[in-house]
Symmetry: C2
Subunit: 266 residues, 2 copies
């Protein structure tokens, strides 16, 4: 191995260890009538479990990679997002609980998200559900795996089309109109799910996800998981998602054909 | 025990065996890109897993209780719903997969539902999620249990209020307007979940569920699970749910106070 090449195997091992350790903390709090506080309109709830879980991941990652940058939902970024790329350093984006509402409701669809990037290049994406013990992993250029087995069905996903979004409340009026048109095309819509939806897309179990208001600590994991499964993830104009932005609109589809069809309905 | 008294302990044992056996079948198909067919507008998908799972439950129940009536989502009712009450017989209402859309999407929120009734009296309600291995059970007059432990928090459920519905698409225009008002009151809304939501309500993790278009094979299980947890389940006019009807509107709340508040917003 060249000296300056990132050691993907070591990153993968640390990422899995961090996700499982975070999940072990979340399992302790799951379904136990948590004290919750309202954060903001788009991500309304935060719990003590979010914080403990992120701290645990930070501890594990810092121990293995003391010079890497860490960006987390609860404790922010070591340096401003806009400055990460030019450092040339590897950075980790962490969401200790994606789907806090589902978590506090005791529903096993919240996930732990980890994305690892170097400059414009994704090195790893991980989606982990600790209660059902499901993990999607995109490591390096390898195909996304689901619980260790390659996801090979994303491109041939569900027919009739199943489209999904976490909550219509998170969509702007324009996006709601678009969603309604997609709904007419698809006939079947699924609500809820947060980051879990992108795992389902990678596995070929749903056809399309439309969302907005996502943060870098969300999409950093989702981009490699979706793309390494052969599916497509773009913004609402059909452009590729640029790393290290503050906010994202997302349209993920099983393939480019459905992407084009969906964009034509906008 | 008197001769004509239903043997709740034996019913409970059979119900758990049926649910777990159904769940074992569902686990085999979970997340495996099923061939699905569109059924109708309100419950759009059906799979081979629904049918196998219901047949298995019917086999187990019939073996233990050959004279009981069985009503199932996929294979209908032994006799018309409207005639069940006057037979005086015990009847079982089965939904082998409540949340078929979630099931086909590989999301662990679909549930197996079993309700056992004698005349106007619920004998048992059971909600089972086989992937996360979560079970709510209301047996006889005993408090609802979650994985064997009594649910004691329904009445003190979440503050800030968390309200939930499976899909806004399943709500009529009038109910959507009502939902929007409830949403403003609650600040936080959860989508998706199907029968799982009523388990979350019984556990005190959500505060209110608003739905419509539910069938007897859904509510037969939900009524005892919610009521034996000390929470409230009514129709959209605030009336108690009458057994053996073809279709139901449902408003379930953590307590009577929230029921009154919700009805006042209609």
């Amino acid at each position: 191995m060249q000296k300056n090449m990132p050691d993907i195997k070591k990153i993968e091992k640390t990422a899995i260890k961090a996700a499982v350790s975070a999940g072990d903390i979340l399992k302790k709090y799951y379904g136990s009538c948590l004290e919750i506080e309202v954060k903001d309109e788009m991500s309304p709830l935060v719990t003590v479990a979010d914080k403990q879980s992120e701290l645990k991941m930070r501890e594990i990652i810092s121990a293995d990679f003391p010079d890497h940058i860490i960006v987390g939902e609860e404790f922010g970024s070591d340096i401003p997002l806009a400055e990460i790329c030019e450092t040339g350093k590897i950075s980790w984006a962490l969401d200790p609980i994606d789907g806090t509402t589902a978590f506090t409701a005791g529903m096993p669809t919240f996930v732990v998200l980890i994305g690892v990037w170097c400059g414009d290049k994704p090195l790893l994406g991980l989606i982990y559900q600790p209660i059902s013990n499901e993990m999607w992993l995109a490591s390096g250029d390898k195909p996304t795996t689901y619980n260790g087995k390659p996801c090979e069905n994303a491109k041939s996903a569900t027919n009739p089309l199943v489209i999904a979004t976490t909550s219509p409340n998170y969509l702007s009026d324009n996006s709601q109109n678009w969603w309604n048109k997609l709904n007419s095309m698809a006939k079947t819509a699924l609500f809820g799910g947060d980051g879990f939806l992108y795992g389902s897309l990678a596995s070929g179990n749903i056809s399309l996800v439309l969302e907005e208001g996502l943060k870098w600590h969300d999409v950093a994991a989702l981009i490699p998981v979706v793309e390494n499964a052969g599916a497509t993830i773009r913004d609402h104009s059909g452009n590729r998602l640029k790393p290290y932005q503050e906010s994202y609109t997302v349209l993920a589809t099983r393939d480019d054909e459905l992407l084009a069809e969906a964009l034509a309905l906008k």
